[in-house]
């Protein structure tokens, strides 16, 4: 079935109106020698019933968070998603619309994204947020390019080793063909050493990139790092967990110039890594160097408040090679999910999610480190995630937990660019993340499994 609604009668009438005998005449626009002379080799077509049976069979061979107990982290988390998020974003008027270029036909989308920008500005403690980027990892890369535009510096970019290694890899890939040097500062004690950082940064450095709470769950000394960056005229890019600001100070309060985030925690399902939500916010003086779409408020012909795509002159469809980014399609529906999620939670709800995650993570860490052969790799303060060192090896920890229906990880050995940590440590270590969704019983089950 190919969702066609034209009968063969109608097709004949249409061909007549076009003035050709057959479809073949229209296909003649494609040189015959370039046309495929055989059917595509594809599996046979399925009806809806067969397709559902097939997808259910495929799904049955995957381990999902819903049927297990998920303590997995490393950038994606099993936070609870209230039902309103699915109901509202499941409306066809939202999810089957295009990018809101025609303001009159898209006020629903435009207002929701304006609200998204406002909420993210508030969460980040900065002035302006865009209407989304692809995801947290590419968002860090976009932020680095933006910092290079803002400072006019292309010599060096300094990235903390405690930033999500997949984001670091994205930065390296994005800059592979630029003269810019990407220096990764190893963080062997779990967080950036401020004194060491000073030796990494020079007057050609465009930015320092940190994550706080970082990839290992630990807190960074953000204000001190900001001071180091600003002293050299570099910008501070702060990758943050949007849930953490229910308890912790916001990037803008700590001195960040640009904040980026993976927004998955804000009502986006895990779905094996995407679609997720790239978040980018900045100080207002940097707005014209920002990548991505920006919704602005204005008035219409009749003086009524309305919303439209503002500052489009930064974008590829106007500026082409001189655009701030090539991004076109972004992650609209996920921005909508985050907007609905945050409006349900409110300040108190966000605080409680943050607090519960933090408390439960500390309870889990406390119990786990009492087990023979288990310790925490780092000893600094952490938020909702920590690195567990298991003397029998991280994969054995994962297997033991799995046998009890519990998932932990990822293992640090999964990330080739964490190679500044000794191999032996990487083989023994893995992340454990705890969200508000976990119960004490579930934590105790994990502890029993590893004991």
């Amino acid at each position: 079935m190919s969702y066609l609604f034209t009968t063969s009668d109608e097709q004949q009438q249409m061909l007549g109106r076009i003035g050709v005998d057959s479809l073949a005449t229209l296909l003649d626009q494609i040189p015959t020698q370039l046309q495929l002379d055989r059917p595509l080799r594809m599996p046979p077509a399925l009806t809806e019933l067969e397709l559902e049976r097939h997808l259910r069979e495929l799904a049955s061979r995957n381990v999902g968070a819903a049927s297990r107990v998920c303590f997995m982290g490393g950038g994606a988390y099993d936070h609870y998603i209230p039902s309103v998020v699915d109901e509202v974003t499941g409306r066809g008027e939202f999810y089957t619309a295009y990018t809101p270029y025609q303001a009159e036909a898209s006020q629903g989308t435009l207002q929701a994204f304006f609200e998204f920008q406002s909420l993210i500005a508030e969460l980040s403690g900065l002035d302006i947020a865009n209407a989304s980027l692809y995801d947290g990892g590419s968002g860090v890369a976009e932020a680095v390019l933006m910092a290079m535009r803002c400072t006019g510096r292309t010599g060096r970019v300094v990235v903390a080793g405690s930033v999500n290694p997949e984001a670091v890899q994205s930065v390296t890939t994005y800059l592979a063909d630029q003269p810019t040097e990407v220096l990764v500062l190893p963080t062997r004690h779990g967080k950036v050493g401020v004194a060491e950082l000073e030796s990494y940064i020079d007057e050609t450095t465009a930015c320092i990139v940190i994550q706080h709470p970082n990839f290992f769950g630990e807190l960074e000394d953000v204000e001190q790092i900001a001071a180091v960056a600003h002293q050299q005229g570099a910008l501070l890019i702060h990758s943050f967990d949007p849930i953490s600001v229910g308890l912790l100070k916001r990037p803008g309060e700590l001195g960040a110039d640009i904040a980026v985030a993976e927004g998955q925690a804000l009502g986006v399902p895990l779905q094996f890594g995407g679609p997720y939500l790239g978040i980018l916010a900045c100080k207002k003086e940097l707005v014209r160097k920002m990548p991505g779409r920006l919704i602005g408020q204005t008035v219409d012909r009749n003086g009524q408040r309305c919303f439209f795509l503002n500052l489009q002159a930064r974008e590829q469809h106007i500026r082409r090679a001189g655009a701030m980014s090539n991004i076109c399609t972004n992650q609209g529906l996920l921005a909508l999910r985050a907007t609905v999620y945050l409006s349900l939670l409110g300040p108190q709800g966000l605080k409680e999610v943050a607090e519960l995650s933090c408390r439960k993570a500390h309870y889990a860490a406390d119990r786990l480190k009492q087990i023979e052969g288990c310790e925490l790799l780092f000893t600094g303060p952490f938020f909702k995630e920590f690195v567990l060192k298991y003397e029998h090896g991280a994969d054995s920890a994962i297997r033991k937990a799995a046998a009890a229906g519990v998932d932990i990880g990822p293992m640090l050995s999964r990330f080739p660019n964490l190679n500044w940590l000794p191999q032996e440590v990487r083989d023994q270590c893995l992340l454990v993340a705890v969200t508000e969704s976990r119960t004490k019983d579930e934590i105790d089950r994990l502890v029993t499994a590893l004991a």
């Binding site: 249409m14 799904a59 100070k249």
Partner: protein
Amino acid sequence: MRNRQATQLLSELSHAGRRGAELPPSDVPEWPLEDLLPSEAMAAAPPRLPELAEPDVVRHFVNLSTLNMSVDTHFYPLGSCTMKYNPKRHERLSRLPGIVDVHPHQTAGNIQGLLELLYEMQEMLAEISGLPAVSLQPAAGAHGELTALFVAAAYFRDKGESRTKVIFPASAHGTNPASAAMAGFDCVELKGRSDGFVDIEELKQHLDDKTAVFMVTNPNTLGLFEREIAEIAKVVHDVGGLVYIDGANMNAIMGITRPGDFGGDMMHYNVHKTFTGPHGAGGPGSGPICVRDFLADYLPAPIVRQRDTGSDEKRFELATPSKTIGRVRSFFGNVGILVRGYCYLRTLGAAGVREAAEQAILNANYLKALLADVLPSAHGEHCLHEFVASADGLAKERGITAMDIAKRLLDYGFHPPTVYFPLVVPHAMMFEPTETESKATLDAFSDAIHKIVTEDADLLHTAPHSTPVSRPEEVNATRKPVLTWAACNKE
């Protein structure tokens, strides 16, 4: 009943003390937070989010949704965007447990079903493109372009060649030059021939040993197939360059001709267009790339591979290509959209894929014929899946612009076509009806356009007249942008 609800902002609807979500009490020991976190890291108060009850939130967003036009509610012939029907089964199936709740760091042994689906998706995309190696990682078409250009750069670096130039026609989508610049290349734009096609002689003048990639959309953004594409590819290959096919228009040619067979070395798909994404009010998309075998080793990691088990049992694994460029994002890719694309391709099968393209071509040509008397297209007697008409005549005779017609269409209950793109046509109106519209819809749309062009010019300049808002003021708003509700309050 028409929606006349007030559309206050969330911040204006907020009432101190209201809540839309409740969390269970803590069941772990109540250690003082100050013992867990350093006081200097703690916020004095949580962010000032609006405070709303659950019904407030639902009514707000449902009412907002009714202010949109969408494929589910309206004909949406937005050129270059392939606004086809989005099958509802995809929504249900992509939310199955075992798909929607799989953590991205789950180990390969625990996700064999998903890896099989993604592997089969790679296989189908390779077959439809005629290019054997696939990366599902890019998040959208533009991201695919960028990724492929990184792949090209890595390939040339590896060969010890310094190639700095990316060439594209003036009719190219803005993402082509923007991606090339972002990947560190110099951009060269070709004027093209007056009939809208690439001018091979002009192209040759720019081709040399500095040429890395020639990017071309085929069918091009005028909806026309570049008949000389094989010759174009040959001259690019002769100087050692690569040909990139922007696959945004695959809906015209899937199952009929393949980029790999007409000289392309690399391409992207827009799964959210061709394979019914859906568009999500501006994403998420998914922009997989397909490349020739000699570029396969440079693809971003991971890709899905089938392991030889020596038996009938199928095993799949995540693999890192040997000279990989690294990665262009976190995690595997926009899997939720890939699952929908997979469902679509499995529903259509080989014959259905070709049929869809053929009907898309028929619909576009029919609409082109219906509109020819009022909105002629300068290019091509026939078109493929879309066509670009020009309102230049109407502009000169009656002062009616493409934008006027676009806005007035909203009053007739139709989403307008893409306007003012491609840049090579004055007062461009780019219509892409897609295959999932009926003859009756196309007839009604044509009737509306025929009526509109006879209407009073002033009525058109001030259109639309029936939408929630009309003609936003842009000049002052651009000078003094208000981008958050906090900024509104300061004004």
